[in-house]
Amino acid sequence: MLSLIILIPLVAALLLIFVSRDNTSLVKTIAIGAASATLAVSLWMLASFDMGNPQMQFVQSLHWVPALHINYLVGVDGISLWMVVLTAFLGVISILLSLKQEKSLRNFVALMLALEAGTLGVFLALDTILFYVFWELMLVPTYFIIGIWGEGRRVYATMKFVIYTLVGSLLMLVAILSLTMVHYGATHDVTFDLRILTHTHIDPSMQIWMFLFFFVAFAIKIPVFPLHSWLPHAYVACPIPALILLTGAMSKTGAYGFLRFCLPLFPDAVESMALVIGLMAATGMIYGAWIAIAQKDIKALVAYSSISHLGFIVLGIFARNEEGIEGSILQMLNHGIIASALFIIVGIIEMRMGTRNLSELRGLSKTMPILYGTFMLVMLAALGLPGLNGFVGEFLILMGVWTSHLLSDLSGILVLMGGLSIVFASIYMLYMFQGTMQEKPNSENVSDIDSGEFKLLLPACLLILLIGLYPKPFIDRVSPSVGSLLHLEKTVNLDAGKDSDQH
């Protein structure tokens, strides 16, 4: 089942290469069909997911490179479950949005599907090499999408994005290889199976280095302040459909990496680094929000607000307790929903008005009452209005930080910084919302969103309300896995000889 989730978009992407580029209806059918099928399978997975079981579920294993014990190994647990569903969901939305793309539609949707497949693979892979392959697979389509279909300084943006990411992922590859070597040193087994590797005890001085290598890779992908400077360029240049996958799903792979690799593999390193990372995350939260206040371009505004919101997620993860991590996972889901909806709205406004500049936009609420309503809901969720989904995540995260053992030295300050960024969020969101929607309109002949556009926004609106009103079913599926992550035991010792009582 999990292989289907990865394979459907991947195969469809390959298939599209053989379809004539002029046959747009077939291209559309294949793209929509593949994306919907992926979503359907992932919903099926969600339905059959055993929520009491903290272990990996639906595990599938195939030999890949037997000589090196590299396997095709996939599985899902509470930590990755929602990310898979979210990616599949955003996949459908972004494919539907891409259909309006006029410039070589076939190649565009093929790359989009490949991007979706790569992201899904990252969330599902349990073999570290497989994880790395999917990690790189995400990069290639993004490179072409921004480079070819982007706007503005797209080549510069692509370059920056690719180099940043490459630096990170190569460091990660080093860490992945050394991880296996360390395990080999302890047990004389070669394995890339993450489930086994997490139980390996690693010497704390070694942990720091490996942790940092992984950390940089993931921190760039999210991105964490101050490794974020690719994001504004890439986000502003990126076409909206791809941006939805980029911000909604791909940015989560970094946070997911923290949860899947950094926390379980290197507990001592996390312990010594958490405070610094917490400060980085909190600084990024305020920094991104503060710059967002100064933006005139609403796409850039949402991009900077993403830096701020993603900082929350990182902060919660490094609080390393139930509330913090569960809040972060929920917030990953929330941010995927909210940020993608915001970008869709930005796209709608830009298409209608031909500009994204706040000083040229005003008074749209009069002619676009339906957009006004949906925009308001999404905007309120984004600024963390209690009662909607964004607040649940932020509340849990900050509660986790407040009670965190790791961050206890600075927990008060970190929470205050979080609070400040929430206040800022209401400022820049109101700037954007009121700036575009209120005061006297410039023009009376703007048509409201049509039913197609409304249907793209509707699922996000419903989820915003549902998660806000009833987060229990979402959290319940996450809790057991987070519990087992936090109470992981290191059974495989590095120096088996010295520590003989373990054997």
Binding site: V174, W290, K472, D476
Partner: protein, 621 residues
């Protein structure tokens, strides 16, 4: 599911229906639905009241109705639940009762507005939010209600969304209230840290055993909660949004910025009185801020010319009295004043709205005058409201305010300073409300081109109802104290002190007489006084320049730092540094002169080389 949930669900249903179908149904129907759901909610509240009254007094508290489990993590569990006890039912009745009257009034007042149904949708949303706030059984949903009323307030202040000043006022109110929300959220963390739960019943049961008086943690919790309370109730220094909030339609000012929402801070302290009693320092602080806000707002109210702003300052001032009562520990007196204030302040706003309506939107009292004969019912009801606000004997305001003023001397924490300022403020209150009264209704008209008329029955009827309550609401006093007794768990001492009472009374009447002398007998004296105290007058007229100070110290630096961060730190700092690294790498590789064919490959090869080095480093270290 208990029937008490219906109290919340009616207005919610009204909001959802009117937002979806409001444009497609007739105005009359939209108005009926908007009023009807609140009326239904009021009737259900009466049912809840009678349910409580049938119970013995000690069983009336702690009645939690759970709907479903909202979240459950390893250590944090929370139910979606409401608490139906005398305090919340008391608030239900005020919110839905006064709310219903104001809804009916709005049918007349907003009749010509093109977005009539949207107005009622927002009003319903407000009623729902306020009910969530007072019905919440834990700190989390209290915060939810707290933020939702802020949202409704934002929507209604900015209801005329094409008016720039309204848009700005709405933004200001929202952001100011978010600051309060953040304070409450952090308070909730501290509460969770201390008690492991957010439920009112559990927290209040455990609190006396957890803390000794004035422990650091309880001071922290109570002060953080106060941030929310002060922001919502426009107490110093978080008050600047309230006068600006008068940009909204007048029924909004009556409902949200006088009768209900702004009293949420008072309700919060009443609800958490168990915590506050463990923090006497905080109590003293509350009393101090309350009395300061009362006198501070009173001084500003004396010189304003916008009829709604004067009433807004008086709201701030009266809220100060309520906070004073809370700080002194006489909770049910504070709640009683909250109730009478809801009656007479809603009345004053609606009567003012009737005047504004008659004068086609004119709000400047200098352009009014002589309306006494043209609008007899509005005049009579405004006069009743003004008398009640001024604490004239036997009106409802007399009973509630006089009791607080006496307590400010006779309670344990009371002292002469509190009492003296309270009496002084009472004098100012009487002065400024009668200043408005004489300006508006006495003398001759100052704008001859206007053709004022008495308002339609849909507006006058609510005025009459509220006037009756404002006049006779005082008789409810003993009942309120008895009904709320089980919640607060202490008897209210009724102080009697003929001397102090007489002084307070005379000062109040003195205020009215002063206003009459100044404004009934021509302009001359008024101008003389204005010139004699020009600097002071200027200071008051500009609201102590607090808006300007905030702008200078907070708003401008925030914007400047944002621009600085973007320009200097982001573009010329971080981004520039990153680009430089890239350029250097390129230069170095060019210098080596081996890999010049393709850029990406150059980088990639460099990196792979680096990677190998690092790998060797890691493995052999």
């Amino acid at each position: 599911m208990s029937s008490s949930w219906l109290i919340l669900l009616f207005p919610l249903a009204g909001f959802i229906f009117l937002s979806w179908y409001g444009e497609r149904i007739s105005k009359t129907l939209a108005g009926w639905i908007g009023c009807g759901v609140v009326g239904a909610s009021f009737i259900t509240s009466l049912v809840a009241l009678s349910d409580l009254l049938f119970l013995p007094a000690e069983e009336r508290v702690g009645r939690v109705h759970v709907l479903y489990q909202w979240i459950s993590t390893a250590s944090f569990k929370l139910d979606l639940a409401i608490l139906v006890d005398p305090l919340s039912v008391f608030m239900f009745l005020i919110v839905t009762g006064v709310g219903f009257v104001i809804h009916v009034y709005s049918v007349g007042y907003m009749h010509d507005d093109p977005e009539y149904s949207r107005f009622f949708a927002y009003l319903n949303l407000f009623i729902f939010s306020m009910l969530v706030l007072v019905a919440a059984a834990d700190f989390f949903f209290l915060i939810v209600g707290w933020a939702l009323v802020g949202l409704a307030s934002y929507l209604l202040i900015g209801f005329w969304r094409e008016k720039t000043s309204a848009v700005l006022a709405a933004r200001k109110a929202f952001i100011m209230n978010v600051i309060g929300d953040v304070g409450m959220v952090i308070a909730a963390f501290a509460i969770f840290e201390s008690f492991g739960t957010l439920s009112f019943v559990d927290v209040f049961a455990a609190a006396p055993g957890t803390f000794r008086p004035n422990d650091d943690q309880i001071l922290l919790i109570t002060l953080l909660l106060l941030v929310g309370a002060f922001a919502k109730s426009a107490q110093l220094p978080l008050h600047t949004w309230l006068p600006d909030a008068m940009e909204g339609p007048t029924p909004v000012s009556a409902l949200i910025h006088a009768a209900t929402m702004v009293t949420a801070g008072v309700y919060l302290i009443a609800r958490c009185h168990v915590l506050y009693e463990l923090a006497p320092y905080t109590m003293y602080f509350i009393a101090g801020v309350g009395i300061l806000t009362a006198v501070f707002a009173g001084t500003m109210g004396m010189v304003q010319y916008d009829i709604k702003r004067v009433i807004a300052y008086s709201t701030m001032s009266q809220l100060g009295y309520m906070f004073l009562a809370m700080g002194l520990g006489v909770y049910s007196l504070g709640m009683f004043h909250l109730m009478t204030h809801a009656f007479f302040k809603a009345l004053l706003f609606l009567a003012a709205g009737s005047v504004i309506h008659a004068l086609d939107g004119e709000q400047d009292i200098r352009k009014m005058g002589g309306l006494q004969k043209i609008m007899p019912l509005t005049h009579a009801t405004f006069l009743i409201g003004a008398l009640a606000l001024a604490g004239f004997p036997l009106t409802s305001g007399y009973f509630s305010k006089e009791a607080i003023i006496l307590s400010s001397y006779h309670e344990d924490m009371g002292n002469f300073v509190f009492w003296a300022i309270a009496v002084l403020t009472a004098g100012m209150t009487a002065f400024y409300i009668f200043r408005v009264y004489f300006y508006t209704f006495a003398g001759k008209t100052r704008s001859p081109e206007a053709h004022p008329h008495e308002s339609p029955p849909m507006m006058v009827l609510p005025l009459l109802i509220l006037a009756t309550l404002a006049l006779g609401g005082g008789v409810l006093g003993p009942w309120v104290h008895e009904f709320l007794g089980p919640v607060f768990g202490r008897e209210v001492h009724h102080h009697h002190d003929g001397g102090l009472e007489t002084i307070a009374l005379l000062v109040g009447i003195g205020g009215i007489v002063t206003a009459a002398l100044l404004y009934l007998t021509g302009k001359k004296r008024m101008e003389l006084i204005k010139e004699a105290f020009a600097p002071l007058y200027d200071l008051l007229f500009h609201k102590y320049y607090i808006d300007e100070i905030y702008d200078l110290l907070i708003v401008k630096p925030t914007k400047a730092i944002g621009a600085f961060l973007e320009e200097k730190v982001e573009k010329q700092g971080i981004d520039f540094a990153v680009d430089q690294i890239g350029i250097q790498v390129k230069e170095v590789s060019r210098g080596i002169g081996v890999w010049q064919s393709g850029r990406v490959r150059t980088y990639a090869l460099n990196m792979i080389a680096g990677m190998v080095i690092i790998l060797l480093f890691v493995v052999f270290l």
